[in-house]
Symmetry: D2
């Protein structure tokens, strides 16, 4: 495991909310990140699908990671998410990519897929602005 990936995993372990949900950093490279979450009953809404809030958490966190791989310590300034299919499955995977990066900010996109019996289903699409934390 390389250094960047180790650092990324360590930071995820410093996020109580990510531990609470059980999120796992599965890819972390320059300009790319992937976070995986095993679906639990507690994550659902009244129709039996994974709650949008869980999907938003994943997209938000994954967007920030993508940017963090390029600019260092980062926070999400804003993002937009489209839910495109009900999220059903055993696992959710969010994958984010840096599309454009400046000195202080990067614009990234993210796709969230649900992994079920039939393989991957695209459930959400996000685009956001991530800002470097001033130090």
């Amino acid at each position: 495991m390389n250094e960047l990936f180790e650092m990324g995993k360590r930071i995820l372990q410093e996020q109580p909310f990510s531990i609470f949900l059980g999120a796992e950093l599965t890819v972390f490279e320059k300009g790319k990140s992937e976070i995986t979450l095993v679906v639990r009953e507690e994550f659902k809404q009244q129709h039996g699908f994974v709650h949008g809030g869980v999907i938003s958490y994943l997209a938000d966190n994954c967007l920030t990671y993508a940017e963090g791989s390029v600019l260092g310590d980062a926070v999400t300034s804003e993002y937009k998410i489209n839910y495109v299919r009900p999220a059903i499955g055993e696992r959710l995977i969010a994958r984010a990519t840096v599309l454009s990066s400046g000195k202080r900010q990067a614009v990234c996109d993210c796709r969230v897929v649900a992994i079920g019996e039939k393989g991957e289903t695209l459930v959400a699409i996000a685009q956001g602005t991530i800002s470097k934390v001033d130090q």
Copy 2:
């Protein structure tokens, strides 16, 4: 307590993720909704602020409620959120309003505030499209 508000509270109790986080519906009127969440240690990120995913959950759910007060059973199609201040405090309150409503969709906005020692601080601003669930 009126009928609409009772129904709203019952539906929130059918959302396992909302129970898991401890969200409470505090206002539910025609065109308006408010959801309150007591902040717990598990909701934070590595800098000690409430994780954006928690704030997004609140905004998403509150937007859907606002629309549901007008059109009935509803899901968030998409939304956009700006985080404007770090979320620090004992409670978060999301307040959403229907801005425009058609037969199938409504556009709503939402403000999320953190309640701490100094009173309310605006922490996030969202705008989204909520769609009626076809039956």
Copy 3:
């Protein structure tokens, strides 16, 4: 006419695209802006409504003005717009307000209305991040 308003009008006259379309700054105060546009045949799309691009121009420019009233020379970093009704009428008016302002950025919202025989109709709702131009 006060100084801020005069400066705002002067800057609009330095935007060739705003002159090209005939936009007029009608309100410009601390935290608030309004831009008015007389609708011409050339502004329409194939269904006879004002083209979304014209409405987006208005929202984008008005958002930037709102922020400019607070932070000075500004550019739109990003925004999101919902078109809620077909834009029919003689004039369009965009009205933007600063919702939250930091040192470098502000978050503003904007409503675009069409003015026709029946008075005002809300046609679009926008929310955006405006950034100070570094100097």
Copy 4:
């Protein structure tokens, strides 16, 4: 030239605003569209860059075209755009792709590039929801 492309070009000629600006449909395939615009002095803002409103027009129209290639007559419901670099150059090209398509709506993304002496520069990134026009 195939039938779909011809139809697309004919519809663009029915949009007065697209004629007014001089936009040209340069690609129109199942799930994909490209619109090109020659930059004129009238399209600029006060800093000499192409005005965001022009870029938004391009993104908005191109998103609608992408969806129209799949679902037929379509309108933009909403979109979000990030401006990532000042737009300088002789031409702007918007390229949109359908990412997910349902019966009534599709989610598409769009990249706008400026073509100058140094080749292509990415200037804006958009994501939007396009809705079928009911008939």
